[in-house]
Amino acid sequence: MTEVTSACGYLRQMWLIRVFEEHVARLSKAGEVPGFVHLCSGQEAVAVGTCAALEDGDYLFSSHRGHGHFLARGSDPYGVLTEILGRQDGLCGGYGGSMHLVDAQRGALGATGVVGGNIPLCAGAAWAAAEAGRGRVAVVFFGDGAGGSGVFHETLNLAALWRLPMLFVCENNGYAEFTSREEHSVVKHLSEFCAPYGIANTVVDGNDVLAVQSAAAPMVAAARGGSGPQFLECLTYRLSGHYEGDSMSYRDKAEMAAWVARDPILRLHRQLTELGVEDAALARIEADVRDELDQVLARAVAAVPPAADRVLEGVLGDLPGRESGA
């Protein structure tokens, strides 16, 4: 029964992310979002399954495609949405935006707009966690495109060398921006790079939240227990473009259709039905999420922007002896 309860919780979180992204897509199309948005529709199971394995106090580093990571970690959808809209109530006061979400209270210390840029930062947080002996784990999400960056490889070495309590989570959605994996690398799976460093690694179906959670939990426990870094590669697919407005001319329609059929939400729905949960109960989960987010949306679009007269403030911390504005 607890298994079913947990799974229903995952379904709720996945719907929350999916519907949230639907709202963001509409707002973006309507010109309400100041910057680029990169939706994670279709990849919800990775965020939800991984975050289910984390504990309070663990660190999380997200990517440019990060809305789902924050929602799965428990960030307030209103705070995330107002940040994406550039409003004062946003997680970062409207100064960061979609690609720079931070929610320090939940250990989410950074998202980055640069592919791969978050990976070494996560190693540093893991280093600090280990040094402080607090039993914390640091997890970083990145796409398969990050495997092309040198710093990905530098960080694998550092993490192994220092036996960091770190979980690498590769969301392998088959595309680095607009380029398919086959076109930008001869290596099929990023987890293959773990072998020379002796980093424990697993490849899972990233569209199966139960599989992701089952793989992530022992890896997080191993990292927490001092076994060094772990690498979880989740094979998934983004149902949207690289960014909102992407024509997706580089993607094959048949390929898209095949992945639509493997939608992680439909998958979990089916799994729950097989476990005996009634369709009506599952439909209610979706309906409740839609109601909740309708209210969040109404509040968010009415939220005020950041005060323009403070735009020059807060670049550096206050220091004794420093002239204001110097």
Binding site: L121, A123, G314, E323
Partner: protein, 334 residues
Amino acid sequence: MQMTYLQALGRAIGEALDENPRVVVMGSRFGGHFAAQEDEAFGPALAKHAARVYMSVPIAEFGLAGAAVGVALAGGRPLLSFNIASFMLHGLPPIVNEAPNVRYTTGGRVNAPLTCYALGGIRGGGSSQHSHRLQSMLGNIPGLQILTPATAGDAYGLMKWCLLESQDPTVFLAHSELLLSSEDVDLSAAPLPVGVARICRPGRDVSIIAHSVTVPRSIKAAEVLQRDHGISAEVIDLRTLAPFDRGTLLASVRKTGYAVIADECHKSFGVNAEVAAVIAEEAFAALKAPVRRVATADVPIPYDKGLEREISVTAEKIVEGVLATLGRPVGAGA
């Protein structure tokens, strides 16, 4: 207490490690090719705190810089040494594109108090790939603090400030030619506040604005100007470039009416250009002659010593710059 710049750094880092358990040291060497002197100055302090010292690291500047930022985000106070500043170019993304943004783009919810240390400057035979002065390009990054101490005392005070007090990312640029310079450092004296320039030699006829290695060269030039030409030059050491002390600089230029900027950066878009622009904007009416920049020629740094000297900022060139600015014949005595 008489100590070299390198000894002052070692002492400051040792004291910071003693005082705050969040201070961690990682990266490459601090003393460049002065390895023996570095070992003497740093060895005991680093050995004492070996658990918080990671000085045997892979050559992975990007990864290490990113890790240092992550340590800082998670509450640590890392000091990352890049050794030669040119190597920092491989580690710039976290230093330029992550750390300086976080305080501002999170509305003050997160900050990254890390210190990046590097030996910048034209160092004698460093050629094109070991001679970079990064302060100009880094000066264009809001949110980054840039310290360029010229003396052992400032190196001691500013390094302790970075590691124990600063709340934001800082680049500490030492210079190979300064490392063995020494002075009497009063360890009990309160250090000058960060963001305050120092008038190292008062004068009335011309202001020479310097930082880092051009400070001792400007002082030498001022002595020659006094002795050979009867010119009283005021030498200002900017000490820190970000924050930048406009007040001391402008007060001096308003007093003397002449400004000569001695800067080891390249002339185009260098620190010298920023100083000249500030003077032009704020003190134009006080100028009795155009501002002059004595800076490194706009060429990659050549290898041969004679060629290197040809394009470098020397005391002689600073003297010539002052004479030309004051309308005195260059090369002639008083």
